[in-house]
Symmetry: C2
Subunit: 796 residues, 2 copies
């Protein structure tokens, strides 16, 4: 090994004018490192901006990527300990245990996700129950007795009680999100998508997030917001996946000591994807859809074994929900129960070739409406980010939304007179409130849409006979629901967009069906429910822009395969049309959060962007044997999560940064931490002491909880040496300096890299590429031409 001494000599001999004392020591002293980093950054930013105005093949961007998101560490650190572990006789047993535990954990994930989903559903059920049977029944019956004939006056009391109850529940949800776990707000799907993409979103899969999300979504749905419980269930599933696989909880500070072998980002990410699949399976009774969702939204590669375990979790979760709900609904053990989002079964399953253009048209409408929704919601979110940032302001907005939602419902019922004879629509539940506004023997179709479980309303729109809803009812309901959903998605409560979008789409789809029926009165067999289904798919597809998984989910939720083909067609057209205008809602929110997510394909027109432009040059490298004091300095002064190891570090005569030698490996910050913590030091001149027994210690990634000061290193410790070689990953991914961006992109995407090192022709380290550096380059289409846009990396 090249010793430090020799290097310094060489370095000095290269540059004899340099003060020998201020050589490497100067470069690596604490304050200087920060200074250099800042200086580099400024240089780079300047370069970036100058590039944007000088080079023609790129558009300038006002968008940014946030520097605060780190990548997950998906790669195995194949260090010597890891290799030696295989030589031990006990390794066969470890392999067997890991393999068994993976299945066991997936089983638990399925069971617990199912439990959480059932909990949410039962909570929603009871909160609705209280509202309907207790407040309303009592008040309405009182109204009826006292003021028969002048219901309008009494109705105000009912309405205020109704809105008050809603606001109470929404307050709980909002407080949980605003004060306990901010990440639990919204649908959670964008966050999970980022996590599965390989980005460490802070706190996204913690226990407190799970608890806030589960209770919060039950409250916000129970509180009558235009919010679905499906997205939050997926997020909950993901959190369950992470929590169980780690066998400990940060939020509670409890470590059960279980499943130590899964305590790294790679394994955790796999279990999170299984949890997300289980969440979808529980929410929609759609295990295949769940697996496809995890793949479409998250996975960058298809691994049969992992997919199969995901499938297992999804199945168990769907099974658990069915079991609990069959028991809850008094048909214990009857497993053909159908998940939480049960959209009922279609009686009329035929469709004909002349209906295909109609489905295409629905797809186009859905694409346009979805794009409009996404545009408006994005603008609204930007506005909210700027002007509604205080905690109180956000809480107030939630209450306002809850109040307006309730008020609008009552107002609509008063305004529209759509009374139908009871029994005309067998799918509508005729509660007392629905009959209030109408004559005896009739009920209000509007009320049956507004004062039902949203899932029941979807069923109504899909399956009720052709004349169950008036045209005005559908128009007003559709518009109101569209606007309320728009406002609701993004406020500080857990809220999904699936069911509201389906409901909006079902309303205008049914309207479409009625119009078709009126235009072609001679054609029999037109079922507006069929068009309601197509409309629901179109609206939802237009908003979220999923295709395959959404088809599977809708097919599984309707328990029907026959409409598979038209649904696919609708979703495909929807995505095509929507993509002309903007991107999907989840992607838009990810962009707003400035998360460095990697797309599916490298940006077009990026072949001539080479590694030397992509990489960061301000690398801090280690030698294979380093003094402890220098390591502490580096850990203190940089925030890098991994450090390349080179065979020698020389001062460069031309540049202010040192000239690194050959790339020998890399080591994670957490590993260095572990080494310092365990004091794997050597005294000056002595040889190596011994390796710690458990190599999993060096695979564990959680360095979040400790600080350097906690280690209590003495000056003597700091004077020791640390032999990094046995602990470093000895053959990190490397590319030459002339590598193109698409090539780098495929490496990152295909292998889930966190670091890629750039070497010159002699294998000398020249730079490092992280996910952010790759994600910075975005493909944009402007005036029908593709451009590569280079985003600015913000420090916030």
């Amino acid at each position: 090994m090249t010793s430090r001494g020799r290097v310094r000599t060489t370095s000095n001999s290269l540059d004899p004018n340099e003060d020998p004392v201020s050589g490497l020591e100067r470069v690596f002293s604490n304050s200087n490192l920060e200074q250099i980093a800042r200086q580099r950054r400024r240089q780079e930013e300047a370069m970036l901006f100058s590039r944007q105005f000088t080079e023609s093949d790129r558009t300038d961007s006002h968008e940014a990527l946030s520097a605060r998101y780190e990548s997950l560490n998906y790669e195995v650190s194949e260090n010597r300990l890891y290799r030696d572990a295989e030589k031990k006789p006990s390794h066969q047993l470890t392999l067997w245990r890991i393999s068994r535990n993976r299945w066991f954990v997936c089983f638990l994930i399925g069971v617990f996700t199912g439990l959480v989903a059932a909990f949410i559903d039962i909570m929603v059920h009871y909160s609705k129950d209280i509202k309907f049977s207790w407040i309303l029944k009592y008040l309405i019956s009182k109204c009826s007795e006292e003021q028969r004939g002048t219901t309008a006056g009494c109705m105000w009391t009912v309405m205020i009680a109704w809105i008050g109850y809603n606001c109470f529940l929404v307050t709980i949800a909002a407080i949980l999100v605003i004060y306990v776990a901010p990440i639990a707000g919204g649908s959670g799907i964008p966050q999970i998508k980022c996590y599965l993409n390989g980005i460490a979103i802070p706190e996204v899969v913690r226990l407190k997030t799970l608890v806030s999300k589960a209770i919060g979504v039950a409250c916000s749905v129970g509180g009558g917001l235009c919010a679905g419980k499906e997205g939050p269930m997926i997020h909950s599933g993901a959190a369950v996946g992470a929590g169980i696989s780690q066998g400990k909880s940060y939020s509670l500070g409890i470590d059960f000591g279980l499943f130590r072998e899964f305590r790294n980002d790679r394994e955790r990410r796999d279990f999170v994807s299984a949890g997300a699949a289980a969440g979808v399976a529980a929410a929609f009774g759609a295990p295949i859809g769940g697996v496809l969702f995890s793949l479409e939204e998250g996975a960058s590669f298809w691994n049969q074994n992992l997919t199969w375990r995901m499938f297992f979790s999804a199945m168990i979760s769907s099974f658990t929900v069915n079991w609990i709900l069959s028991w809850f609904n008094g048909r214990s053990g009857w497993l053909s129960w159908t998940g939480l989002a049960n959209f009922g079964i279609f009686e009329n399953k035929d469709y004909n070739i002349w209906e295909i253009p109609l489905f295409l048209l629905i797809g186009i409408i859905g694409g346009c409406l979805g794009a409009l929704f996404n545009y408006l919601n994005t603008r609204l979110t930007e506005f909210r980010k700027k002007y509604v940032s205080s905690k109180f302001g956000r809480l107030f907005e939630c209450l306002l939304v809850a109040a307006v939602s309730g008020f609008l419902a009552f107002l609509t019922i008063f305004a529209i007179d759509d009374c139908q004879p009871i029994g005309a629509n067998p799918t509508a539940t005729s509660t007392q409130i629905n009959q209030m506004w109408c004559k005896k023997g009739e009920y209000s179709a509007v009320a049956s849409l507004f004062f039902q479980n949203p899932e029941e309303s979807v069923k109504s729109l899909f399956h009720s006979p052709i004349n169950s809803f008036g045209v005005t009812t559908l128009i007003i309901f559709g518009i109101e629901y569209f606007l309320l959903t728009l406002w609701t998605f993004g406020i500080s409560v857990p809220s999904g967009v699936f069911i509201p979008a389906i409901l909006t789409g079902a309303a205008w789809g049914r309207l479409f069906g009625i119009l078709v029926e009126r235009l072609f009165p001679s054609v029999t067999g037109i079922d507006p429910g069929k068009y309601a289904l197509a409309g629901a798919a179109a609206q939802l597809g237009g908003v979220v822009r999923m295709t395959i998984s959404l088809t599977a989910i809708i097919m599984e939720a309707t328990k029907d395969i026959t409409f598979g083909l038209p649904i696919m067609l609708v979703l495909m057209v929807t995505k095509w049309v929507g993509d002309i205008f903007n991107e999907g809602l989840y992607d838009a929110h990810i962009d707003l959060a400035e998360v460095p997510i990697l797309g599916w394909n490298p940006p077009k027109m990026s072949r001539n962007i080479l590694a030397d432009r992509v990489m960061r040059k301000d690398v801090v490298a280690l030698e294979r044997r380093e003094r402890v004091s220098r390591i502490i300095e580096i850990l203190r002064s940089t925030l890098h999560h991994g450090f390349p190891v080179v065979d020698r570090i020389e001062e460069s005569p031309y540049e202010s940064l040192p000239d690194y030698g050959r790339l020998k490996g890399y080591i994670l910050r957490s590993q260095l931490f572990k080494l310092l913590e365990n004091r794997i030091f050597e005294e000056e001149g002595s040889s190596h002491g011994g390796l710690p027994a458990d190599f999993y210690e060096c695979q564990d990634d959680d360095d979040q909880m400790k600080s350097l000061a906690d280690l209590g290193l003495t000056p003597y410790d700091e004077s020791c040496w640390l032999d990094i070689e046995p602990y470093m990953h000895p053959h990190p991914h490397r590319v030459p300096i002339n590598t193109s961006l698409p090539f780098i992109f495929r490496l990152f995407r295909g292998l889930g890299l966190r670091y890629l090192f750039v070497v010159n022709d002699d294998n000398h380290l020249r730079g490092v590429i992280t996910r952010k550096d790759v994600a910075r380059f975005r493909e944009r289409r402007r005036n029908h031409e593709y451009h590569v846009e280079e985003l600015y990396i913000s420090e916030s």
Copy 2:
């Protein structure tokens, strides 16, 4: 650039004792190259064997990988032409055209796959029609008139006519396979699986293969063999995908000049996966199942755009089949038609929790039976490979199978007396032949199983009332079908295993249901059809060991979601149980064919196998500027499909192979060929002339059709120089020499590599790793311990 002359001097100065004339010239002369290659190979083999007996962590293997399979070239050669193309203003147009054409081609693939599937189905329909209405009706009515009372004697005539007709059809199928396209034999799924895995199986997607397969499978199914048409349809779809995307046909020698941009392995493989998905969609009416099939069996990574196009093809194909068949069956335009394998709709969809253990038991039985099937079929295939190798012998075997299948059916009908009153089973078609053996007003249940379309028999077993089939009937039918399928799968006709396995499984599953019903007579609601479905899934799962895609296919084919959960459970248990004994049927056949397929995960216990043990050292490299004569020599004397380019080649003083300099790039054989063909030469001393205009020329991979002699190079040409640099891929994947096998494996699997170069610490080329070198290492479990087995690479 380092010139040849200087290198030679350096080389000589390194080894002054060497005869200067016999330097590099000697190393690279034609005969010497072959000699060296042979010598290397012998050395390697010796090394291999010695390793097998000396190293303890590996088991010795009698299995081999064939050296004749090449990898597909999935990587883009990002040479200077490719990069320059992007700078041209026309490139935006090209991008747009490629993107549009991809969709257009996928549309065509869907349409044509649908057409082929419909063609096969209609062919089978007519061939059955001829058999039933023409031969049998005529003969049986004649029998009835002449010999009423003594039917047995007359039956011989019927049987001989029946068997004769079957043999005639099977002969056509066998001749097509044996004499026209041998690769068209069998199901085709193993071959497609290998192709999608990245292996160039010769002729697998040619037009003549498609024609032989389509006509052949119609004949073999029409000829009464225990064969399904689903596997061959998937193969046909894949062939359609390849054929259409290339816009030309090798078999016909026609080049339509279309879709030139897709003429490389990478694009072709994508379209083949779309074609395979379309094939599944057409065969089972299962578009989602098709996409999952392509992913589960083939894709190594999930690309959303590609998956979406696959989905589109699958949808269009399913649509086309529905349309044609709705027209063929006189209900034109009625699109709810249900694909080719229509298993009918279940009336009784309930199941209860106490049935779960029964489903698990069915899964275990299916796993065992499937494993038994695979074991016996593998032994039989080995036997056949050894002893039935002549063309005539194979033809004879096909005829024998056809005759025995027909004979056994008749024999069984005579032997078993299972007459049921007509109307007892509404799903059984009561043709005249079924009534022959029974009294008036009755029909033979056995005959209704044997003399129906297999798909109809499946429907019968799934949906007929509980007493439609006697226990003996089911036992005898199940055993006979199991054995006949065993014999049939592997003979030289196109034949799938899906439907026969489903039929076998449905028989024993129904039997299982009847037993359950007899054991628990008090429990109501036991439907043997439900257990028949579970049995069918179990038997099929036990044979092919697919999980997710098979669940989706069965769900889509039965148009039913309710049984999704039990089917998943059954398939999961089946795979677990089956995997204890052996691997799936397709994988077993792939192993028998010695194809270097890569599994999903790197072998366990392989961390300590490093690149220097995996790589081949007998690399033939080029310099960046080479004399044409040397290139011709190399092309003539090696069969390598790609050559690394290094900055200098020196003779090594220690080894018989030269000492290569830094890795600068690599170039494909086909690209060198193109350069020679277009005479992109430079005279001694002169600079470069110019680049050919169309860079797609240098991406085109088909060099199969030309030989070096066809190029007609003159001695003057040979004295020229070729500047390789603009055409080579300038940054190939490289790993250091201490890289572990799992790391290498993930690179190959995740990126679809063909070549991986091994460099030393100074970036000097030291070896090359191809797919075969990686696939050589196989994980095996022996005595509950994992071992890595190193296969022998055979030259055949």
